[in-house]
Amino acid sequence: MVGYLARRLAWAVVLLLGISLAVFLVVHLSGDPTALYVGPEGTRADYEIVRAALGFDRPLPEQYGRFLVRAVQGDFGRSLRHQQPTLPLVLERLPATLKLAAVAMALAVALALPLGILSALRRNSVLDTVAMTLALTGQCMPTFWLGILLILVFAVQLRWVPVYGGEGAAALALPALTLGVWAMARTARITRSSMLEVLHADFLRTARAKGISEWGVVLRHALRNGAIPIVTAIGLELGNLLGGAVITEAVFAYPGIGRLAVEAVVNKDVPLLQAVVFTVAASLILLNAAIDVVYMALDPRVRLA
């Protein structure tokens, strides 16, 4: 276990290095961002002053080297636009995004599991058809479109929730629903098919033969055995959720890391972008490691390699 986690950590470092180099190269391939930080009336000389002040006059390998040396010490430099250390800027927004993603995921799982299980139990019933059509519909809508429609209906017409902001659940209801729909649809469908597969397995026939009630069979035996693919799917959705947050946060003016990311890209704020990318990748690596642990708990046969 410890060895496994250590290896995993080593790979994570390699992965982060690769990602940071990719971001660095992509931004610099189109020329340095100096132009964005000189006033509109600035002259050529002003341009050179700013360029030197931001360090963009140094050769690229040197710039990247400096970045790495500082990053190892936990310093991701100062944001070009905010003129402040980047890591705090990112970390103060990270909880909001994690909260949004967690609520979206909880909402998705809370709705998807019962729907999927019921659909599997009542295969080809009206309920099954309706549930699976809904799930499919959720998968066919662009995120931004769903978000805008939800705002127009629930915030402008019905005024049940605010367009943005608000306290507690009101602030999260629409964005979490928007972000969670895709995960909900996928999880519902996977739960259904995974349950269908298990429900016909021999050990369940034995259980039924022993006189255990159908719900008992489902909850105690089938769900446990069908859980692994479901957990896998949820793990895969995490990356999608954090990615989807970029659009959801823009639509709902939600103060999270996705908006910061877009802002960093738009302003070619390389240090800020590096910090965002690092934080997101690191959170995902941690979450995925956590999921592996859940795996082991679910099924002792799963060996971590």
């Binding site: 499919l136 995120t143 799917a233 999608n240 659009i247 995902l284």
Partner: protein, 291 residues
């Protein structure tokens, strides 16, 4: 499953039947938009902006689905938009599929260090919300169909690689590959003769969902202002441009929205049916990247 039963299973599902019809219609639009579209999709008639559907414009032409903010014919733009969506969807899948398949095969056949490296690369892709990279790359290099295909394609190959690798490992363990090897067959021949036919079913299913995912991704990029250039009609672009009119001039976004929705739904239905018919064990592995 014997081929005859597969076909019947595929066609027997009502969803798949409808899906096939819808996809056929989109394909016809994509192949010959010029013949079907009543007007040039980029022709502007500023004095006939915002003509509602089924009414005549100020100039007397009938605009079946209405005109947009520059007086362009929406029906023509939706028909031409099919070409963009199909082009992006198919190219992305071809790119991601060929990269993913080659890497997956290499990993599966070679094993060892190559396997390890490739699978960690795949992990890296899964572990990272590619939209961050996509907005960076497209923001920097400018939005074009080529850049979108490259970015989306190169960020979705990992699914293919995983599927192909898993299948390759399974096939490799089967006796006949060993037999082939002992008969002195070269590795490429083993791949072509024995492994590819066995993974093709899984690949087709993954690819089907990949097309749907790519079409949705293009729409998301359009929302961020990073979609295909405006001179090329695309559903995502029309939907993004029409979003501010959704409650005042609904028709700007309605038609491309319906086209996109129906197409993605149709592809998903076909994908489901294919999966049920070809490879019932794949369902938990296929994933469509999208945002």
């Amino acid at each position: 499953m014997p081929r005859g039963r597969r076909t019947r299973a595929l066609l027997g599902s009502p969803g798949a039947g409808l899906g096939l019809m819808a996809v056929a219609l989109v394909a016809v639009c994509a192949l010959s938009p010029g013949i079907l579209a009543p007007a040039d999709p980029n022709e502007q008639r500023l004095l006939a902006r915002f003509t509602p559907p089924t009414t005549r414009t100020a100039e007397g032409d009938l605009a079946l689905l209405g005109t947009d903010q520059l007086g362009r014919d929406i029906l023509s733009r939706v028909i031409h938009g099919a070409r963009t969506s199909v082009l992006i969807g198919v190219s992305v899948v071809l790119l991601a599929g060929s990269v993913g398949t080659s890497l997956g095969l290499t990993a599966g056949i070679r094993g060892g260090m190559a396997d390890h490296l490739i699978m960690r690369l795949a992990d890296m892709q899964f572990a990272f919300p590619f939209i961050l990279l996509a907005i960076t790359v497209i923001g920097v290099f400018g939005p074009s169909i080529r850049n979108i295909i490259l970015v989306v394609g190169l960020s979705t190959w990992a699914t293919y690689a995983r599927v192909v690798r898993a299948e390759t490992l399974a096939v490799r363990e089967r006796a006949y590959v060993d037999a082939a090897r002992s008969l002195g067959m070269s590795v490429p021949r083993i791949v072509v003769r024995h492994i590819l036919p066995n993974v093709s079913a899984s690949l087709i299913v993954v690819a089907t969902f990949g097309v749907a995912g790519a079409i949705l991704t293009e729409a998301g990029l359009s929302f961020l202002g990073l979609g295909v250039p405006l001179s090329i009609p695309s559903w995502g672009g029309m939907l993004a441009e029409g979003r501010q009119f959704v409650d005042t001039r609904y028709w700007l976004a309605l038609s491309p929205g319906v086209a996109l929705f129906v197409t993605v739904m149709a592809i998903n239905l076909i994908g489901d049916a294919l999966r049920d018919a070809l490879d019932p064990y794949l369902q938990t592995r296929a994933t469509v990247d999208r945002f």
